[in-house]
Every structure is written in C-alpha cells, then in structure tokens.
Subunit: 318 residues, 2 copies
C-alpha cells in the first residue's frame, strides 16, 4: 500500500477536535477551554482552530444522538443528499467536511488531532493510519519526549477511500485515546496529560515548519486484527463478563488457553486463538452496544522512512 | 428522632432490586441473572424476589428516562393521579409501590436491598436511615464477616414522610453502593463482590429468622452534611475540576485549606470550611447534571441498641 505523501510545505492550518463522542470529557472540556482562550494553541508559524465536533451529543453527555459521528466520514455519507430524517451526525459530518475538508481535496486542513477517552485501561494511545508518515513521526517524537510515559500506537491500514473517522477529512491526522476515564467524568490527571500531549504535538509541527528533518526509525506498533464478542445467552443477553484476569490488562500479551470471560454460571471461557494476541479497549463501555468485549491486535515493528526537512522557500528577487 | 420498630416476626418477604439506575451494571446483571436462576436467593425460612427496577432506562443504558427513579418514592408522587405526560419514572414508582409496598403499610415487603454502582472510589458502602436498627445490625454483621474489606456506612436521618428512595417503600431496607465502576461497564470483580454481599445479607436475615439475637454495639458511620458544587464560569459552564489531590480520596479526612478544585486557568481552589470533613462520591458522573462535585460528610460513632431474638411462635395446642 502506498504511503501518504509527506508535506512539502509548512502546515498552516491545524485543527484540534474534542467531543466527537459527547461523553468523553477530556476533549470536551479542552475544546471548550480553548474556544474561550485560544492563545494556548498558537505557534509562531501557524495557528490552530479548536472545534467541538458533536455539540448536540455533548450537550446531552451522550456518545452520539443518532449514529456514531466518528464512523460517518465516508465518501458515501459525505456526498449523500441531505434528507429531513437523516441522523443528526450525518448532517454534522457534512458540516465538518465543509469546515475542515473537503476530504481528499487540496483545500483541506493540513493536520487534525481528534481527542478521545476510553473506559479501558489504555493509558496513552495514538490511533493512526500506518501509511501517514508524518503522523508516525509525530507519535515517535512524543514517545521520545515522554520516555517515562508509555505512549502506544495503534495502526490500521485502510485505503483513503475506505476511511470513516473524523481525522480522515484532513490531509494528515490521527486520534488520541486516554484512559481509563468513565464516560461523563472529567479527571484532572487525564485532562492535564491530554493538554500537554496536544501542546507537544503543536511543538512538533512548529519544528517541522521551521525546517527540521527527522531521521528514519523503527517503531513498535499494535495492528488491529478484529473484535472479540461477548458470550451471549440464546435470547441475546450477556452470558458472562470480561474475566478478572483480563480486566485492565490492555497491551499485555494474551496466550491461547488464557481465560477471557467469566460466565455468570461460574465457569471460565478460554481464548481459543492459536497464537499470542494483544487485547485492547478491554471492557470499553461504548462497545457493549456492538457486543464487543475487546479488540484483538498484533504487536509488530515497522520501519518509518525519514521525514525530510522542508526546502526554504526562495525569497523572490526584488 | 424515634427509631423504626425492630421486626417482631420472621422476615418472609424480601426483595433485591437492581437497575434502579439503568447504567449501573452490577445490579442490572445480577437482577437479570437471578430472574433466570432464582435459586441463589432462596433460604430455608424465606424467599427473595429479584426485581429489575427501571427496565426502560436499563434497555437504553441510561440512569433514567424522565427523572431519577430513586428520588420519586415520596408520598406526593406515589399518591398523585396518573397523567398522560408524566415522566416514565413516576408511573414506574407507583407500580413498584404497588408491587413492594404500599409504603408505610402493613402489606409492604419486610426488607429491600437496592443495588447501585458509582464512578467514585467509594469501595463498599451501605446507605441507610440511621433510625433503622435492623439495617444497622445487617451492616455491622457484614463488617464483622468481611474484616479484610472496608465496608463503610453512610447514614441519613429523615422522618419516614420525607424519604424518597426505593428502599423507603418496604418496612426495612437500604442501598448498597460499589465503586469505582464506569457507567455502562460490568466489572467481574465488583459483580462478584456484590453477589457475595447480597448472599451474606440473606444469610443474616436467615439467622434472625431462626431466632438469633444480636447485642448492642458502637459503630463508625459517615453522616450526610451537604453537597459541594463545582466552580462555574459566568455563563454556567464548568470553570474547573476535582483537584488531583482529592480525586479517589473518598472517606479520607479533608482539612480546611486543602485544595479541592483545579481551575482550567491553572490555580487551585481551597476548601473553605472550618473543620475536618469527609468527602464522598467524589467526581460521580451522575452528579454533574446537578453541579455536585462531591458530598460532604462527618464521621461519628453511633450506639446501636441490641436486636432481640424472636420469640418462638407457640405451637397451637391440638
């Protein structure tokens, strides 16, 4: 699969979004704070726009009103004709596409960072398309800058025409997940960590804009493999729960035969896969409606090519 | 204030309720489990009815549909005439009052245990009216039975005509709070602990029914004093969050001058009270809509009188 082209010019138009899911409070309150005091987001070579992505869901402290906004940025939704009874989030996705895109166009913003929380014990995790070399360098920069803080990277590899998340609307982008934090709760420790990570991300863009080059590197990432469903009764109700030995063990290796569910009847259900797997988003509240108990991933090393420094724009002769 | 009379006869009609708040998952799934397999709740001298208290809110995984069910068991609501546009929970409160009460009547169930979760770091906490000597003995029994597990008791002292919670409908009752657990998440550790505490509660009732007497004792309890509101901006939005030094410190003493909020602007807000206080339900998700950051309580020792053994019913002469 081809990589996204790296930027050949300074990034001038950057956006930070919170409240894409209206009950993930770190991003909701950071976006609101920056809308009142935007100076925090300014850098010498560019300015950053804060956006509250799903204001209707945020007002009700719900993930979404009609459908998950962060699955609505497909070409199909973005180019569909508006109808009176469409879900709120379809209308809102088109608005955001007009504001920050249009997707796949030269008018789109240069970079988008979308702020999320999870109830799972995910710590600090960036989610990015592995083909976006610029985003991979940003993740690596943050890892080097915060060696005391495990900063994981979850990658997917989707062709641009199949992407569906908010960060696919701009030329480059990724999302940041911090957890664990209950839905509807704002924890000061996660708020401060998110604020600091956003600030460091903007500093990286400033460095790049100033002409810095970044060498190639090897990076450990987790790659999405699929979803593990909850066990169910015949009438569709939950028959068990995430096993206490698995709970809170996101990013730790899970071996075939290890317990993954504790049934209400008492017995354990074991992992039937045939190789080591890395479970992520274990027991995330928002996934119950999809019957997902956790995400399966593999851990691998990827090689990320160098990010060349920008060539200074020649000053026109006078 | 007068104490509730202690039972003079065996408790024959006991009810355990889950899902009074539809996104507090331990009780929701325990109630559903017991509705399928009610044998767990049977004891030699009595049987226990499991009830899913708010099925409509549970189906949507929300705390409530129209208003908080657990504030709706006042005489005013229970005796009001039904109207077509009343909140769902007012209708449901009347149904539950018919099923389990009527409140303050001799037909009411003997005992009710209402199962809750909190996003706060409350551990195991029973909430009871301090005038209910039978409930206080049950709490004390569970403390003695689980010395390794801190089991706190939060008391209020309301005259019966001012009570509003589901457990006020029956002759005796209390609620059990387990935390921390995010709304919409079912943790196996808390599920197992709640199941075990319910089982031990039923065992205590069985002991009492079999004629056991329980001596007087002194007990440490936390008494509700009031609510501490979040700081707000002039336009009503949050201006800060629970201070990281206070987060997760439920039941620990808080001294005047200690930081309680961290403002988004950076400075700390200090506790202005003039004596040591014990904060509870710190940063509970459900309290944001009421602007409550935590509950203030005082810690005190109370004397609970003996619970006399039942006099065996004389066998009629034939």
């Amino acid at each position: 699969m081809c990589s996204l082209p790296v930027p050949q010019e300074p990034l001038r138009r950057v956006v930070v979004t919170g409240g894409t899911h209206g009950n993930e409070m770190s991003g909701v309150y950071l976006a609101r704070h920056w809308l009142r005091t935007p100076a925090d987001l300014q850098r010498p070579s560019f300015s950053t726009v804060p956006v509250l992505a799903n204001p209707a869901a945020t007002a009700l402290c719900r993930r979404y009103i009609g459908r998950d906004l962060n699955r609505t940025f497909t070409n199909t939704f973005l180019t569909s004709r508006a109808t009176p009874d469409e879900p709120y989030e379809v209308t809102r996705a088109r608005e955001l596409n007009q504001l920050l895109g249009p997707k796949n166009s030269s008018q789109a913003f240069d970079f988008l960072l979308d702020l999320h929380n999870t109830t799972a014990n995910m710590g600090t995790c960036f989610i990015s398309n592995a083909t976006d070399i610029f985003a991979m360098h940003l993740c690596h920069h943050l890892q080097l800058k915060n060696p005391e803080l495990p900063t994981r990277v979850l990658v997917y590899r989707l062709p641009k025409e199949e992407t569906y998340s908010l960060d696919s609307v701009t030329k480059h982008g990724m999302s940041l997940e911090l957890g664990p934090q209950p839905q509807g709760v704002l924890r000061a420790d996660l708020f401060s960590r998110m604020r600091s990570l956003v600030s460091s991300s903007l500093d990286f863009i400033e460095l790049f804009n100033q002409g810095a080059a970044f060498p190639a590197f090897e990076m450990e990432v987790y790659r999405y493999l699929g979803c593990e469903d909850f066990p169910h009764t015949e009438d569709g109700d939950l028959a068990g729960m995430v096993h206490p030995q698995l709970q809170d063990r996101d990013f730790e290796p899970l071996q075939p035969g290890a317990p993954i569910f504790q049934m209400f009847s008492g017995e354990d259900m074991l992992y039937k896969g045939d190789s080591t797997m890395y479970p992520l988003f274990i027991n995330e509240a928002a996934y119950y409606e999809k019957n997902i108990a956790f995400i399966r991933s593999e851990k691998l090393m990827i090689s990320v090519p160098a990010l060349p420094g920008l060539t200074p724009t020649p000053t026109p002769l006078t």
